[in-house]
């Protein structure tokens, strides 16, 4: 009886030790390694593309980055042209965007997360926020053109209109990240504040909001970085004017950094290749700094409850 079982086991073992079985196992292991290599290859290929892009921009543009380039404004002469005018336009536009979208986004996030009743129209708000976050940016440009310029008669090409348009685009991003940050604050904080007699409003503004603020700020910076690199909606509202002097205020015609890149990329003079790449480096440095700040804020203030 036990003999038979033993011989069965031996037979079983023997089945795994035939050359044919060994070949099959080797084949499956090879397939395993191949699959893993394909995965690694996919990542390496993507990153190689990124590296190629950065290297080409650095190679073309680094020699053009000097003080006169950083302080000059647009010009038809590639040696004189600089990015300060466009940078100032970008800063003014971002200022308008931030001043509008940050308070609006945070207040909407607070309402939806803390006060909103379970009602039909709240669902509509949520659906439209999620959809706005995915609407192509060029559609916001059409909205800006039709509403701000043609209906309300605001000055074309101005940071005011650009900032308004980008604020509408950035607001959903801030609302979504704000809601997640507020949701992450544990209910015990609210219970504690309510238990010692704070009103619901005091609980939210004195306790929940400060704890959620690092998360909200991270989302805001990421949304602003996206707005800073955006070109298509600004093209719609005419921010492609040739502007030689930096804008003095938010109603002056101006250009923005990505738009300057686009305009220079169209120039035939080969001197502008260097300018375009140098402007791209400036833009990427700004974006890198903003994203770095967002990561720093997240790591420094993120609380694990």
């Amino acid at each position: 009886m036990s003999n038979a079982r033993l011989s069965g086991a031996a037979q079983g073992n023997a089945r795994w030790q035939t050359p044919e079985a060994a070949r099959r196992i080797a084949r499956r292991n090879a397939a395993e390694r191949r699959f893993k290599l394909i995965g690694l290859g996919a990542i390496v290929l993507s990153l190689a593309f990124l590296a190629l892009l950065l290297v080409i921009m650095l190679k073309n543009g680094l020699s053009g980055l000097d003080w006169s380039f950083l302080t000059g404004s647009d010009s038809t002469d590639p040696d004189v042209a600089g990015v300060w005018g466009a940078t100032k336009g970008s800063l003014l536009t971002m200022l308008v965007t931030l001043l509008l979208s940050f308070p609006m986004g945070v207040l909407a996030a607070i309402y939806l997360e803390e006060f909103a009743p379970k009602a039909r129209w709240i669902e509509w708000v949520e659906v439209s926020i999620n959809n706005l976050a995915a609407v192509p940016s060029i559609i916001f440009g059409l909205l800006g053109l039709a509403v701000f310029i043609n209906t309300l008669g605001m000055p074309r090409s101005s940071p005011l209109v650009g900032g308004l348009t980008l604020a509408l685009m950035t607001m959903p991003v801030i609302v979504i990240s704000g809601r997640n940050a507020i949701k992450a604050v544990p209910p015990s904080i609210r219970d504690a504040a309510l238990a010692i007699g704070a009103s619901k409003m005091q609980t939210v503004f004195h306790h929940v909001l400060p704890l959620a603020l690092p998360g909200i700020l991270t989302g805001t910076i990421i949304g602003m970085a996206r707005a800073l690199g955006e070109t298509a909606p600004l093209l719609m509202i005419g921010m492609r004017a040739f502007v030689v002097t930096p804008p003095g205020g938010i109603t002056d015609p101006s250009s923005v950094l990505p738009m300057q890149i686009f305009l220079w990329s169209d120039e035939i003079d080969s001197g502008f290749v260097q300018n375009t790449s140098a402007a791209i480096i400036v833009l990427l440095v700004f974006l890198l700094a903003m994203n770095g700040l967002a990561i720093y804020l997240r790591n420094k203030f993120e609380v694990r409850w």
């Binding site: 699959f35 995965g39 990542i43 909407a108 192509p136 039709a146 509403v147 990329s265 791209i280």
Partner: protein, 457 residues
């Protein structure tokens, strides 16, 4: 100008009011529980009563002031010489207004020059009246609220009710934006469809708005080549690049990479998504397109164009990789652990488990992610503007120049033409189509993702 200055004055008044009311409320404090609301709430109550009525008055006055100025200018003796025809009259008046704003400007019409002075005077007079009105309203509101500073006055409740109203308004902005988009697109597209029938627009195969004139407008606005170019570049070429690379990156990062490698590689991969599209567009036009052109020439094609669907599509695909990768990442993470454990326990290798169990189980989530990626790709503008070209070709040759919906929107709206021509209006019709398609893709994808998550919970 005066009206802008008065807003600062109102804010200053609010500041003063806050301190005054808080100070007075503090004097009322006689011990624990003697006040209904904390002193600072009385301060805020006064601020609200100063700022909100003043802002309303300011908005109302800004709305009626142009009418008043016009009335005063028309009553001026200089206006008697104005032409009777309403249109040329409006032109002169608007020129006079521009001169009043900016005296250095040269007058095109001598009449405008003489009229500029009355315009300026009227502006000044009504501006001053408006400023006084706003300040009076602010003082009245603040004064009334200040008399309410009493120990038992529920200032906190009132302030909180106002804050609640502000919160509500902020969350309504999203609906307002959506409504604004739909309304402006539908309105302008409706004007376009008055001239061109929607059937010609959606089914016509000839797109040449430049030559559109006369009665046969419909023949020049056939958008099928645009739709084809958009689908070919965004949904076919870009996806051929993005799906394999994104999916395999996600598989490697979630299944094979050690936590340390994952922690480093994932953010670096995300950089691809953070690079502005104008940079990709420049890269496509400067580096990628010439490579493909030379490749096409070496295949024996006669004068291949620099602008090719392939260059735009490939670069767009690379841009989408991190997006597909993170969607696939989520989908793979949602598959229950027990399923892959079961497969491994039966003796399948890891790659067999991934191919036969994990990926099929995660398929709905991955498909939804791909749909979202497509909706992004077809709405992408700068890459195609800079690399895909303007020719409305209905061809399957990836090396041919091809145009897309977004490219044509940009093209139609950046030239110098009057706003209400069919050419500019066609951009809004294209925008409407783009909006509807991306909306439908997003709604379906989000629904699939939701149902998929529920299936495994």
């Amino acid at each position: 100008m005066i009206l802008t200055g008065v807003l600062l004055a109102v804010l200053g008044l609010g500041f003063v009011g806050w301190f005054a009311a808080r100070g007075r409320a503090r004097l009322l404090h006689t011990g624990r529980g003697s006040l209904h609301s904390m002193p600072s709430y009385h301060g805020w109550h006064v601020v609200l009563w100063i700022v909100i009525p003043a802002l309303l008055a300011w908005a109302a006055w800004s709305a009626i002031m142009p009418g008043l100025v016009d009335g005063a200018v028309m009553a001026d003796p200089a206006a008697a010489q104005l032409p009777a025809d309403a249109m040329s009259r409006a032109a002169v008046v608007s020129e006079a207004k521009a001169i009043a704003q900016n005296p250095d400007q040269a007058a095109f019409n001598p009449l405008a020059q003489t009229l500029a002075e009355p315009v300026r005077a009227a502006h000044q007079r009504f501006g001053l009246i408006g400023a006084l009105l706003v300040v009076i309203v602010a003082l009245a509101g603040g004064g009334w609220a200040f008399t309410k500073v009493r120990a038992n006055y529920p200032a906190r409740t009132r302030v909180e009710r106002a804050v609640m109203g502000v919160l509500l308004l902020a969350s309504l902005m999203a609906i307002l934006t959506t409504f604004g988009i739909v309304a402006s697109l539908v309105f302008e597209a409706g004007m376009f469809f008055k001239d061109v029938s929607p059937i010609d627009f959606l089914l016509g195969t000839h797109w040449s708005p430049g030559s559109a004139r006369g009665d046969n407008l419909g023949e020049s606005f056939g958008a099928v080549p645009l739709f084809w170019g958009t689908i070919y570049i965004g949904a076919i070429i870009a996806m051929v690049v993005a799906i394999p690379l994104g999916l395999m990156s996600a598989v490697y990062l979630t299944q094979y990479a050690t936590p340390t490698i994952r922690k480093w590689l994932k953010p670096v991969l995300e950089i691809l998504a953070g690079i502005p599209t104008v940079v990709y567009g420049y890269f496509a036009a400067l580096t990628v397109a010439p490579i493909f052109r030379d490749f096409a020439a070496s295949l024996g094609m006669a004068n291949p164009s620099t602008e090719s669907a392939l260059a735009a599509g490939v670069v767009m695909g690379v841009m989408i990789i991190p997006f597909v990768s993170s969607m696939a990442d989520d989908a793979l993470a949602a598959v229950p652990r027990a399923m892959s454990d079961g497969s491994l326990a039966l003796g399948a290798t890891k790659s067999e488990t991934i191919k036969k169990v994990l990926l099929p189980a995660a398929l709905p989530g991955i498909v939804a992610g791909v749909m979202l990626a497509i909706s992004r790709a077809i709405g992408e503008t700068m890459i195609v503007v800079m690399a895909a070209g303007a020719a409305a070709n209905l061809s399957a040759n990836p090396f041919a120049s091809m145009t897309t919906v977004t490219y044509q929107i940009v093209q139609m709206l950046t030239g110098d033409q009057e706003f209400n021509s069919p050419k500019t209006l066609s951009a809004f019709a294209l925008g409407l189509v783009l909006f509807i398609v991306t909306l439908v893709l997003n709604i379906i994808a989000l629904r699939v993702v939701k149902r998929f998550r529920e299936a495994y919970e």
